[in-house]
């Protein structure tokens, strides 16, 4: 069986950044496995700009952002396979892949980096009643059809869900001459970034109806209309609030689900909140030598953070191969638990091995509701050690705190770090 030091599953932004970072840490034997016909992942269909503000301090389109990483990977001679599907990852890191040329083959990895990204939640998961005609697309599928294939899925559009891809597609379809009538969002707040609401809806006078959902889908062959209604606090439709829209297209942007079927095969432990692996400060899962980063770990809203996170996973995977692989060396030092409570839904990571912690550790999280003029607080055991005011926090925007190793070391008897949202 052919073997590699690090196998990276997925050649999107996370996989690329992880590979580059592992290479820079001195690992030569790296393989990226990508199922599509090019590297870059979902960025290839994100032809709008706004990528890279944090990483490159300029506004790039998705393909441009991806190209920066693809070029770097090429310069570093990182090996990759396209058109190749990973069918299985075993607990002992045997990666089974399939493609046209080689058929089904197995590779042994010392370390595996999970970078499979996420998929869109389909209509079925929402139990929207009605018919099942043509013309209902997830926003990302429509984005691919328009931006990569050059086809129009429809001309008269309603969008359900205010996820970022849906917002971006509202603008994109408008550019292409479609009439986007409205965006309905079942929650009382948007699921997407504020900047996308302004730039993709407000600028084109597309109304956003919060606390509204689609309650009926009409049309036996091709979609002919939808009924939208307001929902109460229980998210059930309120009778009498129904609005009918004639439309030939319904785009769904109702959530992203980390794509962890392979992780589960490798017996990686999952968080029921993020639907991604549970990881420590190295972004290592419960399976030794298996790391995770990007949207497979938790869904991000900015690719810059994906790249940053993935670089950390790559670096730690390299370190694992060099220092721990095959040596029966465990991570040592005190283990500190990180908890999310009071409005903070989760954190990534959820634990820290003190000896392994870098000087600074970014902990990312999301809030479960809209908070105005509230504080992000960090507690070491029961003592509040960070308290930062934010004007607005929303579930659609990822938040972060930074932990200093020195502060953790200096705190006597530290067991638990808690992230909370507080009114004062």
């Amino acid at each position: 069986m052919k073997s590699y030091d690090v196998i990276i599953v997925g050649g999107g932004p996370a996989g690329l950044a992880a590979a580059i970072s592992a290479k820079k840490e001195g690992i030569d034997s790296i393989l990226i496995i990508e199922r599509d016909n090019q590297l870059g992942g979902i960025l290839n269909q994100c032809i709008h700009n706004g990528f890279g503000l944090h990483t490159f301090k300029e506004e790039l389109t998705g393909p441009e952002y991806a190209a920066r990483f693809i070029e770097q990977a090429a310069e570093l001679n990182i090996e990759y396979k396209l058109h190749t599907m990973v069918c299985d990852i075993s607990h002992d890191k045997v990666v089974t892949v399939m493609n046209r040329e080689e058929g089904m083959v197995m590779y042994q990895a010392k370390a595996v980096i999970l970078a499979m990204g996420c998929r869109e939640r389909p209509r079925g998961a929402l139990n929207i009643p009605g018919y099942r005609p043509a013309g209902i697309y997830s926003a990302g599928t429509a984005q691919r059809l328009v931006n990569i294939e050059g086809f129009m899925p429809g001309k008269k559009v309603v969008i359900l869900g205010s996820g970022d891809i849906g917002l971006i597609m509202a603008r994109r379809m408008t550019f292409e001459g479609a009439k986007v009538q409205c965006v309905a969002e079942v929650m009382p707040y948007s699921g997407g970034l504020k900047r996308n609401i302004v730039q993709c809806l407000d600028d084109y006078d597309i109304p956003l109806y919060l606390s509204h959902t689609v309650i009926d889908i009409e049309g036996k062959d091709r979609l002919t209309g939808v009924v939208i209604a307001e929902v109460g606090p229980d998210r059930k439709p309120i009778p009498g609030t129904e609005m009918h829209y004639d439309c030939d297209t319904l785009l769904l942007s109702v959530g992203l689900i980390p794509e962890n079927e392979l992780s589960k095969k490798a017996e990686v432990e999952m968080s029921p909140i993020t639907n991604g692996p549970i990881v420590d400060e190295s972004l290592e899962t419960n399976v030794e030598g298996v790391f995770a980063c990007g949207n497979v770990l938790h869904v991000h809203d900015l690719v810059d953070y994906v790249s940053e996170e993935a670089a950390l996973a790559g670096k730690n995977a390299a370190q694992y191969v060099k220092e721990r692989y095959g040596k029966d060396v465990q991570k040592s030092g005190e283990v500190i638990e990180i908890k999310a409570t009071d409005g903070a839904r989760y954190t990534v990571p959820t634990s820290i091995h003190m000896d392994n912690m870098a000087d600074l550790l970014t902990v990312r999280f999301r809030v479960g509701n809209v908070f105005k003029d509230s504080y992000i607080s960090v507690y070491f055991n029961d003592e509040r050690v960070q308290h930062r005011k934010k004007q607005v926090m929303a579930p659609g925007e990822m938040e972060q705190i930074i932990l200093k190793k020195k502060a953790l070391e200096d705190f006597d008897g530290l067991k638990t770090i808690t992230v909370k949202i507080e009114e004062e």
Binding site: N127, P129, K220
Partner: protein, 480 residues
């Protein structure tokens, strides 16, 4: 002039067609949809019923038990998926236990083999995820699960190979009784035939009433379902039924042949024979049943629902199959009122109906009849060596298009290029399971459309979900 036109390419129509193809007759199957199994046959529970709940002495009882036997044999001949997982009819209220004995007596009277009552301890050992309220159950080992559309596809393909013609998107507008033959007025012109088989499902009454004075009424009885992720596929081994009620067999919880699990069906009589829409009320009710441990030990996790759908049963008011030559319309044969256990009974219905046809017409035997058919290779089911052999022969089998169900390009191409091959996305989906997984075709839709376009030699804009009027795209970008 055809010898026989079969109206309807559902499981009954295709089984009849295959049975007829054993004889030298000029047979044509017509259907208003673009594919086989597009009506009742595509959306049902996919159960091979054992025959315990039909009233003894009825045609339904006889054909159910015979159909059950035939299906397991035919599955080998025609290579369609079927599994004898057994059925359990579970009693959860001590005072209703007597109903199980009634069902057991019925099973015995109907000739259902090996049925027996299973007491609580054994029952919970068989199905540890069953509700602890279970008192006892009727266990019927010959109950099974099947893929209904692949039954129709297998039958249809085999019939086509044996010379039966298929005309799709052909809708019967009127039937005129002529002297010794029938004229079928369709949207594709007039077709003439000596005999007609009415296998039109929920429209069987419409067809029948065009030629007979003895009117028939078929009510569309809607059943809605929740389909759940494969993670729950082995939650139950057997098909779990509640005790039956007046509207049918009740809401079951069962594994599907493909390893998913479903909850359903509901039962609502509706006016619209095309009314396959799901409704909030019923979905809520199914969710409530599923999450309130109706038959299950646990509240089923509703975030594992991958889709909901509805199908229509062709309910005839006397709840009995009508398989006969229409008295006042010689040469017009009804296969009507084919509701549950119609799927199971379909090969037996065909056997009986073709028996009647042969009694009348006595077509000579088709000496070249090919009984066997090979289905589409499912790469996912093969060993690594077998997979590699396939890919070596045809690299398209190494290209996975649908990642949830691991369906390859090779399988999709085969599905399109077979006899009565797939013409639309739904056609590909039903033949290969492409798009049936947890992402519900989000990822593979554009890719499958490209393959359809290439193989059929039609532009992307002509690709449909399910035939005429269901185009996926409205045009190219930068175009008016």
């Amino acid at each position: 002039m055809y010898d026989i036109i079969v109206i309807g390419a559902g499981v009954v129509g295709t089984c009849v067609a295959r049975e007829l193809s054993k004889y030298q007759a000029n047979v044509c199957v017509i259907d208003k949809a673009d594919d086989v199994a597009s009506g009742t046959s595509k959306a049902n529970s996919g159960i091979v019923h054992a025959g315990y709940d039909c009233k003894p002495g009825t045609l339904m009882a006889k054909l159910n038990v015979r159909g059950n036997e035939l299906l397991y044999q035919l599955a080998e001949e025609l290579d369609f998926p079927i599994k004898k997982n057994g059925s359990l009819i579970v009693c959860t209220i001590e005072s209703e236990r007597g109903k199980l004995d009634v069902l057991l007596d019925q099973a015995n009277a109907n000739g259902v083999p090996d049925a027996r009552i299973v007491e609580r301890d054994e029952l919970l050992e068989m199905e540890p995820n069953l509700t602890p309220n279970a008192v006892a159950a009727l266990y019927v080992p010959t109950g099974g699960i099947i893929c209904p559309f692949n039954l129709a596809i297998a039958m249809g393909e085999n019939a086509a190979v044996n010379g039966v013609e298929f005309k799709f998107e052909t809708e019967v507008k009127n039937i005129v009784k002529k002297d010794g033959y029938y004229e079928l007025d369709t949207n594709k012109g007039v077709l003439e035939t000596k005999a007609v088989v009415n296998a039109a499902g929920v429209y069987a009454d419409v067809m029948h009433n065009m030629v007979s004075d003895k009117k028939m009424k078929i009510v569309a009885r809607k059943g809605e379902y929740l389909l759940m992720d494969k993670e729950l596929g082995d939650y139950f081994k057997a098909t779990i039924f509640p005790l039956p009620g007046p509207m049918g067999k009740g809401v079951l919880t069962a594994p599907t042949i493909h390893g998913n699990m479903f909850v359903g069906p509901s039962a609502t009589d509706i006016e619209d024979k095309e009314g396959v829409n799901t409704t909030q009320e019923i979905i809520d009710d199914l969710v409530q049943k599923a999450s309130a441990s109706h038959l299950t030990k646990d509240r089923l996790p509703m975030n594992k629902v991958i889709t909901s759908f509805a199908g229509l049963r062709a309910h005839e008011e006397h709840h009995e199959f009508i398989v006969e030559e229409v008295a006042d319309a010689p040469g017009f044969f009804d296969a009507a009122g084919i509701e549950s256990p119609g799927l199971t009974s379909s090969p037996a219905i065909a056997e009986m109906l073709v028996g009647l046809i042969q009694d009348k017409y006595n077509f000579p035997k088709n000496e070249n009849f090919i009984a066997k058919r090979k289905g589409i290779v499912h790469m996912e089911d093969l060993s690594m060596e077998e997979k590699n052999e396939m890919i070596k022969k045809n690299p398209q089998y190494g290209n996975i298009v649908c990642r949830c169900e691991m369906v390859t390009e090779g399988e999709i191409v085969d599905a399109i290029n077979r006899p009565i091959g797939a013409r639309s996305l739904d056609g590909v989906k039903r033949r290969t399971r492409q798009g049936m997984g947890r992402c519900q075709a989000g990822f593979c839709t554009p890719r499958t459309m490209e393959i359809l376009s290439r193989e059929l030699g039609i532009p992307m804009t002509e690709i449909t979900k399910k035939g005429e009027g269901s185009n996926m795209l409205v045009g190219k970008i930068k175009e008016d």
